[in-house]
């Protein structure tokens, strides 16, 4: 089954939508980060700070007058020439391509890099960056695994305060409470728009192909939040005006891609195989906080509170309460999905160690599921297409 393309020729809404997706696609393919260089030129040499998956306090970077930049790897577009020399055989692909991007100069435009405590690979990558790029500001961001305000919250607030100090020293503005409130408001709007997009997809997935949604959300990894909000709004308007028709496809939730990203062709393959992806965990930073962060009172404390209390159920965070997989079962029901596809990158410890638990929960809830592995540079999709197609057929025939 091919992706439905049934818009009326010459439809101005569709033309706008095509233009928006093409813009996002161009950003996706900008593996040299030229858009960041241009932004810096246009903004009087303002600084840009990269961050690895899965979380970064983008509000703080923005409040420091800097551009937060998601560094999600090279995908299938970057040939690994030097990056392999730094790593052993058995490791996910993301660090290879990130080091490649660093060594080939693509990331020279970044004045700093934030490495969150996603896993041991990204943790160690922070140390590699300190050695390989001594002139780049490197911050390892230890996300608290204790969620009590006066323990983990206090620790995290100190971590974020240090980041504020560091970014000021790096040549940014002081992220004052006033500036931070303004940035929080912008990112609240961003999360609301992304959430709206996800809800539209749940409601009518034929109007929001996942291959488009992916590109639109991913654009937010490179664009200033103000521009990304505008892009999202325009795309949402175009979706609302869409006349696309539903197809007989299975509604599925996709899990496991929260760090190393699937190639765009993998998403297209799943759609072509008959799956409407109605929920996913791509670029989880875009949806990290459930709801708004308060703009009243102490903004830093509000960010910390939001992190402690409203972070997503994510394999990199210790699950203090509840049962593993409950969140996935709930998300599957909320999205009115008929099945779950576990799609994790090879050698991804957080995803693959989590999977037996979440998969058991899904099976216990009698939700059909299937699983496969990918790498960001996977180029052959026939097997996945057959597997996903069979899965979708089984759902539709049941």
């Amino acid at each position: 089954m091919e992706t439905p393309v049934n818009a009326a020729a010459g439809d101005p809404t569709e033309s706008l939508r095509t233009a928006l997706v093409e813009r996002a696609d161009a950003l996706y393919r900008d593996v040299d980060f030229n858009c960041i260089r241009e932004w810096k030129l246009q903004n009087g040499g303002a600084k840009a700070v990269g961050f690895l998956p899965i979380y970064a306090p983008r509000e703080i970077i923005h409040a420091a007058g800097m551009l937060p930049v998601g560094v999600l790897g090279g995908g299938d577009a970057v040939e690994i020439v030097k990056g392999d020399a730094c790593f052993q055989s058995y490791i996910c692909h993301l660090p290879r391509s990130v080091v490649e991007l660093g060594l080939n100069g693509a990331l020279d435009c970044l004045d700093g890099m934030i490495f969150p405590s996603t896993c041991d690979v990204i943790r160690n990558l922070s140390g590699m960056w300190q050695i390989l790029f001594p002139n780049c500001y490197v911050k390892y961001l230890d996300m608290p695994q204790n969620y009590q305000n006066h323990i983990g919250g206090e620790f995290f607030e100190r971590e974020l305060s240090l980041l504020i100090d560091d970014l000021e020293k790096l040549g940014g503005e002081r992220a004052t409470p006033q500036r931070l409130r303004h940035s929080i408001a912008l990112y609240n709007e961003n999360r609301r728009l992304v959430e709206e997009l996800y809800k539209l997809r749940i409601h009518a997935p034929w109007t929001v192909p996942s291959s488009e949604l992916y590109l639109i959300v991913r654009a937010g990894m490179l664009l200033p939040v103000e521009e990304h909000n505008k892009l999202c709004k325009q795309y949402i308007d175009a979706v609302r005006a869409s006349a696309r028709r539903p197809m007989d496809m299975a509604r599925v939730v996709l899990r496991g891609c929260f760090c190393e990203q699937p190639p765009l062709d993998l998403i297209k393959t799943l759609e072509r195989s008959g799956c409407y992806i109605v929920d996913d965990d791509w670029m989880i930073v875009s949806r990290w906080i459930d709801g708004d962060v308060s703009t009243e009172g102490d903004p830093l404390a509000n960010l910390v509170q939001a992190f402690l209390q409203r972070s997503p159920a994510c394999p990199s965070l210790y699950l203090q309460k509840g049962k593993k997989g409950d969140a996935l079962v709930e998300a599957t029901r909320d999205a009115r999905a008929e099945g779950v596809i576990f799609s994790a990158p090879s050698f991804c410890d957080p995803a693959l160690l989590d999977q037996p638990m979440t998969l058991a929960a899904v099976k216990n809830a009698q939700i059909p599921c299937t699983s496969f592995l990918f790498a960001e540079n996977t180029g052959q999709f026939q097997t996945i297409r057959e597997q996903a197609g069979t899965f979708a057929d089984a759902i539709k025939l049941s």
Partner: protein, 427 residues
């Protein structure tokens, strides 16, 4: 090469008896009203568990013992058949496979189910997932201790405060609940003082490798030496006495000018002095060691023997600041240090122990150790001018140990040292 008759040292016999007694206590724990707490080697809080009369169980040690007893392959595959990925840590799969095969420990007795999973999240992300999995398997409570990473190569007051606060408000209350006993800081001080004594003697033993010939192998041999202090015995009089015995034995070897003891007896002449980074392979442990000692290669320092605590930089458990000292211990474990600190440690070892070179053993299972090791290798080579080598296998998954390939690599590496010696680059 002639290999002398193997000898069993008194310290080995003592350690064997200690381990047997401990596993027997575990086997009858629930009958005798004792509680079992599962925890990990890096960042273990053994003194604190002893304070509450709790029995530690270390799944990593059980997994490596399963590897040495050739049982891990079946356990790993059993876990994979249950849905655990081929790509993840073999220790975890070995543990889960063992659990589903009767949970028989290394001495042949059954291990008790945990009364508490003490998740000391130190230097290894997999620990977190491992105990989430065990929580599902055993339906046991978890006490989580988040130990921040030393990303800047130092312990900050914020990190220490965070750990101490968790000890006071999360860990100790959990141990009180499980044991039914109140926290007794004086008792903790007593155990910490015993730890410090044993740590002194361990450091003395490890540092004898600076001599020529080295009286010990500080990797293959030293994994036995660190056994008691890395596992259930730190903070006990048993450990103090074991390390006194071991120290006396090694000092005697020094006095006699002897090299290390191997499984085949005394090693022949010392031809190569090496530093090794990374854990050993356990399924072919002796085969791997033999590749070294038959060539006259002795490991004079290793980082694996620091995963359960780094003591040769002066750290000691300190009874005068009990919780702060436990926090510093956790924060200071080897894999909780950043890559620059790890490189610096290796550089120091190569220089201080006058090594001819260093080898990296990259472990498929262990990103904590392995991610970035080739950059470490590059750094150490640059700083010391000594050649580095690299080989790969796994901890307890025998499918990833290719003996011929590794032997070829080790021999080629030693030949390279020989050639560089001939060229005058290495002594």
């Amino acid at each position: 090469m002639t290999i002398a008759t193997p000898l069993k040292d008194a310290s080995q016999e003592r350690q064997k008896a200690m381990i047997a007694e401990h596993f027997h206590k575990l086997a009858v724990a629930h009958e005798t009203g004792r509680k079992a707490v599962y925890t990990f080697v890096p960042g273990n809080l053994t003194e604190l568990l002893l304070t509450f009369d709790l029995l530690p169980v270390l799944p990593e040690i059980n997994a490596l013992q399963s590897g040495m007893r050739q049982k891990s392959g079946d356990y790993v595959q059993k876990a994979e058949k249950m849905g655990h990925s081929e790509d993840v840590c073999a220790y975890v799969k070995c543990d889960i496979g063992m659990l589903h095969s009767g949970n028989i420990g290394p001495t042949g007795e059954r291990l008790p189910s945990p009364d508490l999973l003490l998740l000391s999240y130190t230097g290894c992300f997999t620990f977190l997932k491992w105990f989430e999995l065990l929580k599902e398997e055993y339906k046991a409570p978890v006490a989580m201790l988040h130990v921040p990473y030393q990303s800047e190569g130092r312990i900050t007051p914020t990190m220490r405060d965070y750990v101490v606060k968790q000890l006071k408000e999360v860990i100790i209350p959990a141990l009180e609940r499980i044991s039914g006993k109140k926290y007794d800081e004086e008792k903790l001080r007593h155990h910490l003082a015993l730890s410090a004594k044993a740590e002194d003697d361990l450091v003395h033993v490890l540092e004898t490798a600076k001599r020529r010939p080295s009286p010990i192998d500080a990797y293959f041999g030293a994994v036995y030496y660190v056994g008691p202090i890395f596992s259930s015995f730190r903070g006990t009089t048993d450990a103090v006495e074991y390390y006194q015995l071991l120290r006396a034995e090694i000092d005697e070897r020094v006095a006699r000018g002897e090299g290390p003891v191997t499984p085949d007896g005394a090693m022949g002449p010392e031809r190569y002095r090496l530093v090794v980074e990374g854990p050993p392979n356990w399924t072919s442990f002796r085969e791997l060691w033999k590749m070294f000692y038959l060539e006259g290669a002795v490991v004079v320092a290793s980082t694996y023997t620091k995963v359960g605590g780094v003591y040769d930089d002066g750290f000691r458990h300190d009874p005068s600041r009990p919780l702060e000292s436990l926090a510093d211990y956790c924060l200071g474990c080897y894999t909780n240090r950043n890559l620059r600190a790890r490189s610096d440690m290796l550089i120091k070892y190569v220089k201080d122990y006058d090594a001819d070179g260093f080898l990296v053993h990259s472990i498929k299972s262990c990103d904590s150790f392995s991610a970035g090791q080739l950059l470490i290798l590059n750094q150490v080579e640059k700083a010391t001018g000594r050649p580095g080598g690299f080989f790969e296998s796994d901890l307890v998954d025998p499918r990833y140990f290719s003996a011929a390939n590794i032997k070829n690599r080790v021999e080629s590496y030693l030949q390279m040292i020989e050639q560089r010696r001939a060229a005058g680059a290495v002594r």
